[in-house]
């Protein structure tokens, strides 16, 4: 039974109001939705990332779930230890969640993530991807899209981004999915699926960021939806080795997604076309993977 609005409204509240998130923070919307689906029996390890700050300062916390703040590179390894410890103590019912940003996932944390994925540790790894090091004030990461302005790419990022979910899928993880806070029901149902599986599960959530992307704060959800609708952020899942695209919206012009974001303000018409091509290449590759059947084995 898919999760509905009714189910969500009945679910617990794990985000406390008055936390330190920026107004319009997509990461917090993601955390709110994920925590509702996972419910009470979950523990979270959070490496250095925006969420380290979002919780608010000691001695209070903006989260009503057990949270362990951890060093940057160590989300997956710490979570692996927690899962082993819980299993040893006979508390295997408790879900262990690694909640990390894109820097902690694509870059500094990829080794520990790869190890945990390869071992099949009983961890739900969630990367909330806001496409740069936002907590340190907007520096490019392996997840930053090409051409995007950041403080370390002042004329725009020269490179494409890593295809992280597919990298994880290639490890043979028991579940891999992409999600967007702009499609919340697709998101929560993927989280529910991951919750009910064991082994290493990975969900990457596009978490729009008004501060780092420089767009009006009220557009957080709208842009997260547009990222999917312009095929910049395809929604798919990988299960039993098979990739399935879960959302095929009618494609909208990339310009609609880029225009509100000042990080793309310097783009020429030609840049936009090149970018559109690059994203469509990735989309077409995904469709080929989908057609290929059981390939992540």
């Amino acid at each position: 039974m898919p999760i509905t609005m009714k189910d969500l409204r009945r679910a617990g509240k794990f985000v406390m109001p008055g936390n330190a998130a920026c107004p319009g923070c997509g990461a917090l919307v993601a955390f709110k939705l994920v925590s509702k689906v996972l419910g009470k029996d979950a523990v979270y390890v959070i490496p250095a990332c925006c969420t380290s700050v979002i919780q608010g300062p000691y001695p209070k916390s903006g989260f009503r779930v057990p949270v362990f703040n951890m060093a940057f590179a160590a989300a997956a390894s710490t979570a692996a230890g927690m899962a082993a410890g819980l299993a040893a103590l006979g508390r295997g019912n408790v879900r262990v969640v690694a909640w990390a940003g894109d820097g902690g996932t694509y870059d500094i944390g990829i080794q520990a993530l790869s190890g945990a994925a390869e071992r099949g540790d009983d961890v739900l790894y969630i990367c909330y991807n806001n496409e740069a090091y936002m907590n340190t004030g907007i520096q490019r990461s392996g997840a930053t899209p090409p051409k995007a302005w950041t403080k370390t790419t002042p004329t725009g990022k020269a490179e494409m981004k890593k295809n992280m979910p597919l990298i994880v899928a290639a490890h043979g993880a028991s579940y891999v999915a992409t999600a967007s806070i702009g499609y919340p029901f697709d998101l929560v149902n993927k989280v529910a699926k991951a919750r009910d599986k064991r082994g290493f599960r990975y969900i990457e959530i596009l978490s729009t960021c008004p501060t780092g992307w420089n767009y009006p704060v009220n557009k957080t959800i709208e842009l997260a939806r547009l990222a999917v609708d312009t095929y910049v952020w395809p929604l798919y899942e990988v299960e039993d080795g098979k990739l399935r695209i879960t959302m095929r919206p009618k494609r909208r012009p990339l310009r609609e997604y880029l225009a509100p974001q000042r990080r793309f303000a310097h783009l020429t018409e030609e840049d936009v076309r090149a970018l559109e091509r690059a994203f469509m290449d990735r989309w077409e590759a995904l469709e080929k993977l989908e057609a290929a059947g059981r390939i992540f084995v």
């Binding site: 330190a20 209070k60 557009k219 957080t220």
Partner: protein
Amino acid sequence: MATNVIPVSLPEAGASGETGIWRVFRPVINKEKCVKCWLCWLYCQEEVISEGADGFPEIDYTYCKGCGMCANECPTKAIEMVPEGRGNSL
């Protein structure tokens, strides 16, 4: 026995203070237009929208940060973002 000072934090509203004071615009719900779809509730990052006694969404202005996501997503445009003025207290 030494006194151990161990930094355990407890969940509490207002971990960063009364974040309502961050607000530049205040979301105001027009109950005439509201169809109780709860999308505003779904997207509100701050969990400050709840069901009021009258069954309509109600906003806790002590903590609402005024991001306006609720207004932007409301399908009937029932939420208006009103500038916070001097006479406009919490």
